[in-house]
Amino acid sequence: MAEKTEKLLQVKNLKKYFNVSRRDVLKAVDGVTFDVYKGETLGLVGESGCGKSTTGRTIIRLYDPTEGEVIFDGQDVGGKLSLKSKKELSKRMQMIFQDPYASLNPRMMVKDIIAEGIDIHHLAKSSKERMDRVYEMLETVGLNREHANRYPHEFSGGQRQRIGIARALAVDPDFIIADEPISALDVSIQAQVVNLLQELQEKQGLTYLFIAHDLSMVKHISDRVGVMYLGNMAELATSDEVYDHPLHPYTQSLLSAIPVADPKLERTRERIILQGDVPSPIDPPSGCRFRTRCPFAMDVCAKVRPKWHEVEKGHWVACHLHDEGLKTEKA
């Protein structure tokens, strides 16, 4: 795969807090930093509540960031935006949602769902052009022209997800955030949708932020993978690197926790089973967020928050085990 170096999206120290009551603040995303290169797929994985969906939703401005910068194609889109620039952003950045049953308006015909973006951005000059575009989109995602006049309830889950993809593609975006696009689908249908996403990327040079909890699927589709835990990024590297040489103890245990569909391997494999549950993001542990479940936790982990730094070229990690100063001690 060719090296992709042109940065399409830069996320710097992004934070998103929610006020859940007068006293409590839920720190859903608490300072994540990463880049997305043009034409690549960046996967974001983590358990529920780790902030991966919030990250995606904050980038596309479904939420306003509490702090931090989001730079899209050289332009800061993380601060206050005028309605006009928000509209411009939504033309270039689109989202595919998790639940194909909830993300399509049941009272709208498929053609109107797909053409909504076209209408808002005035991309079609005549109604004929509009319909041509809708037909083109339907065929791109593997549906038929005849489907345009139907309603969402007439489709299966996989087909609905295709409609969601067609809607996202209709405004010809550069960047697509796919938030768990396949987790509501059956295994055999999942493969269909993933193959479709990959074909579209090859043909149209799209950039994806692929958010999922299914690590094997993320590995399959992504060029690089970021692992999140409790609002923080734990590790980020190329997908092969993350799976072959995970550095962060959380990544290691996450990988060993996935049951593999290979009985012989499953019998011999040694697994690290984490104790306990993910702590509450309202009152997260001090220092490193993972220390309460980490098998290698040291004193320093409770006191100092580990720095997010690049240990090897393109391999980022936030863990005291890989801090320069402590490295000698460990060895």
């Binding site: 295994v187 993933v194 193959n195 996935i258 290979d262 012989k264 391997l265 089973i273």
Partner: protein, 339 residues
Amino acid sequence: MDHLLEIKDLSVVFHIFGADVQAVRGISLQLNKGETLAIVGESGSGKSVTSKAVMGLIPNPPGEIATGEVLFEGKDLVKYSKKQMQKVRGKDISMIFQDPMTALNPTMKIGKQIMEGLIKHQSLSKHDAKNRAIELLQLVGIPNPEKRVDEYPHQFSGGMRQRVVIAIALACNPKILIADEPTTALDVTIQAQILDLMRGLQEKTGTAIILITHDLGVVANLAQRVAVMYGGKIVETGTLDEIFYNPKHPYTWGLLSSMPKLHAKTDKLLAIPGTPPDLSNPPKGCPFAPRCPHAMKVCTEHMPAYTELSATQKAACWLLDERAPKVDPPATIGVGGES
């Protein structure tokens, strides 16, 4: 050999939407003492309906067990009255549900929910039942059981609730435990904990488990035998290794190769085209024929019979007929073990 549970030619029909949805269409299965049998398939393949039929939990109307027998230690559970079934349920056969958030009663202390079955089936006194409940909570790995027995479900996390559900299911030492997608609603690290717990408990108690899931990883981790369901029928059964390394049915091939491998590089997933059949109007022949890349004319006309491939493996596919052309499984099948 005497089987603990034997399902014979079971059919379940639901009379809804002005049609008869044939959710399960004549399946036969055996479960032996102490083993784990996995039933895999997609949503709508009939795997959950099968387990509900065993438990006598098919709502009637609209559901109905049209034909077949469910023999538990030689006695047909289908013929049991509601009252008789209540004595089996929770005592001899119990069940773990998919969603631990809704399986527990939110207005009852969890101790009381565990004690319910103990008092009813084993006629323990309240005091003894509570002690046993504390023991069970300890067994499923809940810290501080003396204190937590008096707490409510909302005070537990998802993984902890699933442990409570398992404790309730195991309270009366059942002979069969039906686990319907026991880890689907959980995160992977919690899933690993629960799978580990289930394996450990099975070794201790010798309970036979029917595991219903769509996750082949979970199957490889827990099961000894596998039944693959599609369109209300069992298309292939065999031991774990037979199904994973030497599958014979094209649907099993498709299922195995549509999952990305964590330990190997795959360029493109082999997707199964199309969608599962509509069971209110099931196809005349093999249910998989419309999606099968090797389908022949006979497949759409007649349902294939089972071909015995070994003492433990059988599959229903016309390709296994001696008159059929030889078809090789996709290259990704049958390799494994090393990475």
